[in-house]
Amino acid sequence: MPELASERPLTLAILAMGGQGGGVLADWIVAVAEAGGWHAQSTSVPGVAQRTGATLYYIEMLPPRGLEVPVFALMPTPGDVDVVLAAELMEAGRSILRGLATPDRTLIVTSTHRAYAVAEKEKAGEAIGDPRIVNAAVGVSARRVIAFDMEAVAKAFGTAVSAPILGALAGSGALPFERAAFEAVIGAGGKGVAASLNGFAAGFELASTNELPAARIQPEPMVAQLPATLGHAALDRSLERIRALPPVLHAMALAGLKRVTDFQDAAYGNEYIERLLGLYRRDCEVDGNAKSFAFSLAAAKYLAKAMAYDDVIGVADLKTRSQRFARIAADMNAASGQPMYLTEFMHPRAEELVSLLPERWGRRVMANVKLMARLDRWFNRSRKVETATIRGFLQLYAVAGLRTRRRTLLRHAVERAHMEHWLALTTQHLDCNYGLATGILSAHRLIKGYSDTHARGASKFDRVLSAVPLLASRDDAGQWMTRLISAALKDEDGKALDGALETIRSL
């Protein structure tokens, strides 16, 4: 029998999400190889994965050898792959988990952009996969890596992500084919050739970049340099008072001041700083310096959110601002000559209506169950407001106008009471349990949303605070509060939270 030939095929795996054009990319690569006289084979198992699921395409190729026809495998052997092409960051991670990348030989070409999976998006809080873990894994599993935001490049040239990926592959020199060969294949394609070629070229140029994310999220919260002035004499005194605070608090306090002022007015903003300083002084008394003022930092953040609560007036205010109209026009790239109309999807209930009444009336109406029911029947329905027409705009404009009287209205009174009770609770525990006090402040994170969502958040907030008496005497109360808060964010009905509370009761 003949001696065995030593050639082994060049192997490539493409990991993409359904609809990303992994098939097109595979066809291009095979076409390039065949045009170069090579034998090439691609396979895939799309099935229903074509519907946004993770897909894998696999390619093998060999140069010609007489009349012999190679026998190509139909699936990759873990540890036997030369090139991994990933159309999204976590898909690169998936390729590594599947054992497709090994440091002895694998070139990983991956886009650094994220398309979040449902599992990441549906959580009530922040639950995205940490890109730094992928970064680290690539570090130990790839011989070489090419990584940049190929989605952004594709967008910039109005093409699909497969074009810059092919460009990066061509530029990497991993395949023994000339740039022209790749471009010829793209050119032979049907529509969007020019855009694809531009995307390809851009990818080709970037073939030596590695921009794997070094941070968990982009952009990272900025650390503000305090400006010289806020441009409003009324606020600059507060600005100076922030300047007097330890630098660690600057960014948050400034953001808070701006938010609260933007929500109401300068006086309200100054009141925020007033209260913040009060809490900061308490912090100093209990040697917060040693804890790098964690308490004050939490106060700066959540006091601002408590004072600038989410109400109907605020919504109407934000929706009628010139800023917003400009932002959306830019986002829709609507030229000034192009009419743009907006439809807001609102569904106010009787509660929202009554919350706009002066406190005393409001409380009376609230107390009258029959009346509330009637109001709800009459008022509670979907309202699609066309903000860019005069009629629709005036409706919201009028509601936003109530801002000047906001502090006399029922909702404000309710929020006030809630806040005072919350602040009293935290300061009460500050002296003997710093961690617990900080945790009480942080629990405010759970209050979010409108109508039902808001009610659910508020109840979670209350349930978390219900643990305070049980934790008062523990040194690790801080950690427990953190655990409770993240548990509360795990699921909608707070099952995880109930579990955590059980554990605490059993302590």
Partner: protein, 720 residues
Amino acid sequence: MAERSFAREVEDLRLGAGEEFRGEGILAITKALLQCGVAYVGGYQGAPISHLMDVLSDASDYMAELGVHFETSASEATAAAMLSASVMYPIRGAVTWKSTAGTNVASDALSNLSSGGVTGGAVIVIGEDYGEGSSIMQERSHAFAMKSQIWLADPRPNLPSMVHIVEKAFDLSEASNTPVMVEVRIRACHVHGRFMAKDNRRPAYTLKQALENPLRDVGRIVLPPASFAHEKLKVEKRWPAAVQFIKDHKLNEVFGPEDESIGIILQGGMYNGVIRGLQQLGLSDAYGNSKIPLSVLNFTYPLVDSEILSFCAGKSAVLIVEEGQPEFIEQAVNTILRRADVQTRISGKDVLPMAGEYTAGVMQKGLIGFLEKRAPRLLGNRPPLPDPSPVLNSPEVKALAEAVPPRPPGFCTGCPERPIFAAMKLVEKELGPHHVSADIGCHLFSILPPFNIGATTMGYGLGPAAASAFNVKADKRVISVMGDGGFWHNGLASSVGNAVFNKHDGVMLIVDNFYSAATGGQDILSSRASNPKRKTNNSIVNAVKGIGATWVRQIDRTYNVAEMCDTLREALTTKEPGPKIIVASSECMLNKQRREKPRMDKAEQDGERIVRQRFGVDEDICTGDHACIRLSGCPSLTIKHTGDPLRDDPVATIDQSCVACGNCGDVADAAVLCPSFYRADVIRNANRWDRFKMKLRRAVITWLQKRRESRRIIFERSVG
């Protein structure tokens, strides 16, 4: 209209002798059918053989030219029954479907067909949907071949072999009066390769001739006494004839040296995997030159005893590489050797797993296991094997398991089925959870997050049938879901008819997206597009009323979540007896966009007035609770981190891919979620009147904005 156009592939079907075909395996098989002179082709679409159907329906003009009748069968049972045209007449025909799901549906007709036997070549191309990428239960088609005495081909997964075997399958079918199944696995269907084409052949005997010269032979009909004669015929005539034919035409292949003391018997479909495994062990090269004798079964049923015996003769041990369970071939080979008193030891499922796909890693382990047991010397100095385990065991990679999210298939951007399940979830919040009987189709994605709706799925068009037991007085009603595809496949009779007849008290939700969407968007009876070759636009509502349903509601815009909710609530609470049938209709967005997007772009370029719509989220108003996402899961509705230090959680955002289906707004409204959603409409190529209104409105609005903003302090909010 299928999901993609096969215009180019249709051209490939016209290739003649001496021209090279380059493309997908399943399309090569399609070409092979035409080279064999088939007179008719039918089938039911489904991965991995959808493309065979799609390309033929796009090629209908050429089919007519060639004298080939093609039709999209109503179900696999219909397709199998279609083969009866080859029973009495020397007409070649082929049908195709996804197996084993489709073979289950077809088996009634298949049993009758194979009992009476065929005159013209009858070939069934089955896409064996097994292993990674499969969307069905993991079973083997092999069992159907054995029980009905249908021959089963399993060609080596390269285009020349697959084409050759298809051609021979027709000859074999005629030589043995038996239908032949040609089994191709998912990867083989989608493999890209080349082969030398032959000229297409017009059918030697046409359907027209048959119709004009009808024949009958009561001996071919499955009724006693013929049915008993059939069984004898099978084992005494057809089986031996088949074995002889396979042997004479060397349809099974033997590779490698003759003087080796061990060998491998394998299914044709396993060939490439075995070669790669041997190559890694230094026992073969990339061109299939193996140091170990290989007996490749391109026909796995029936087996040719003499071939098995001569291959095993003089060998101390033979490995059988047979994917799936149970190990029919291994059992058969053992019997053959026993009967001939050959002492060769047989390995198989002792070193290879009984269940699951034979992936590269599995194959490698199996081969090593066999060689270590029977011929360790062949492993020689054991060259290093590809091995990812050091990487996989590193802490960095272990940590990945936490970070990399699962990414199962789901509803596409703008899918009209999403609001249906959003509505079900909302009604569930009011009336509590219900038992939901699901079906087959895109709508089955409802069982996954974020919807998590659906308890069981019993088969295509059987969703409501699977709920039939739950027809008793209770405080809650059973809800069953069924797609339009399943409805026409067999749901009308098996599910709706059954429910009407038995006065079933449940709620039946029929998801009508105008296509058989999950299989690639093929037209069906109720498709709304006008299709010159088919009669479409047949109303599902009329059909269910036609068989006696009385409580029937039609929803023409599934995106109207509020209406969906109200209708569901009514269906779950009404006093009216009998099935409560809701037909929820909106076009599959994937297909709609394929048609509309180019049209819109062209219109805009041509200066026509068009309105571009997209949804958005006011990130200043969004509080990052993501309740909207838990009711949607739309790919274009995602999250985004703002640079705002006051925010702990990312806000919802809608990316450029939004198709403005309206689901977000309607869900936010129906669920009373939050006021952050808006829809922006931009008028391109606006006319004079548009611009006049705009100027007027802007003037007033801008004045009001300036007036207020000049009297207060405003800071740009989110930085993100």
